[in-house]
Subunit: 212 residues, 2 copies
């Protein structure tokens, strides 16, 4: 029973790794689509979110089956419910990458963000990638060290978010619509990072049994 | 066993009703704070979100205990996991009401939204209240009829969201910052409505065992 449970939990973990890899790639591609006004890549991100949702559904179904079959209690049950929460966080990260891609699509063939904000969004994309990558590493390699770095990455995202507003509110020459796009985009990256921090905490518990 | 399970599920339902009532009131008060630039009410909403989070935590703990003690399977287990999902949706609705209140606070003593947008936000607040109220009614009275109206309410919220953008993008005289505030606020109401629709679907399953 115990071995069967561990095997099923490991399978759940593998599904979460797939989700994590997907949402890491989704935000990277969404950022590229945004900076290059690249429609085909934006389309791939938007279409790809269905895959993330399908993986999330499988996580939920597998968790249901594990509980129904193994009737885990105490720490074992807590791990399964934690896997469910991680799935929820990752699913939201996928949505946010899709939101970024949709703004790129909406403004195509124009660029949604003016040149003076390109660096901010490039860096936001890099921080987002790094955070999803760390979450994936902790999940895959059960290596807890990287989980502790997520808060610092999140601080960096918040600093970029503030820089974005400084640019938009200081002598902005691109009109109201582009300002709104920039503000919404900034929020999507910032939320992505928040969910990565939440996911990281839950993942740490899943792989070590310890809370931060 | 069966009766004990039903009693525990009913208790979970009661916690969800408390959450639903809280987030219904939170968005109503946030809207009032926004329209009247009323700082004390905005403060109440921001502080009150901790209560919603605490209720959410109790929902998670109770669900854990029910599964551990009763080892439900099949439909019973699905109901407990559904209660968990509803808790997640309601918690997000509370966050969004708090985000609205925070923008009101950030601009206080000024009004965050100019007079020409007051009607749009008043109506958004009314639709949001109605949606949370219907979710509460379905939960409390196990009356499924109101659940089916949530999609229509959500369409109304989307129409208000479009009207907001028409106002902001047409001859806007209030500067970039107020435009960004309006866009973010509009998004918070729109997301609140989306989560209410999701919650409604899950609540319908919880009280009737049927999916839409």
């Amino acid at each position: 029973m115990r071995e069967a449970f561990q095997a099923e939990l490991a399978e759940l973990g593998q599904l979460l790794v797939s989700m994590s890899v997907s949402v890491r790639g989704a935000m990277q591609e969404a950022t590229q689509a945004l900076l290059d006004a690249n429609r085909p890549i934006a389309d791939i991100v938007v279409a790809g979110d269905a895959k993330v949702d399908a993986l999330h559904h499988r996580v939920e179904e597998r968790a249901f089956e594990v509980i129904a079959r193994q009737a885990p209690v105490a720490g074992d049950l807590r791990m399964v419910l934690t896997a469910l929460r991680i799935g929820g966080e990752l699913e939201r990260m996928g949505d946010l990458a899709q939101h970024v891609a949709k703004i790129a699509l909406m403004r195509h063939p124009q660029h949604a963000v003016p040149e003076e904000l390109a660096d901010v969004f490039r860096e936001m994309g890099e921080v987002a990638y790094r955070m999803a990558d760390k979450a994936t590493t902790v999940l895959e390699q059960r290596d807890a060290t990287q989980a502790s770095e997520l808060e610092r990455d999140d601080d960096q995202m918040d600093a970029l978010h503030r820089r974005l507003f400084e640019v938009v509110l200081d002598d902005w020459k691109h009109g109201v619509e582009a300002a709104i796009d920039a503000a919404l985009l900034g929020r999507f990256y910032e939320r992505y990072a928040d969910h990565a921090v939440n996911a990281g905490k839950q993942i740490l518990y899943l792989v070590t049994g310890e809370t931060t």
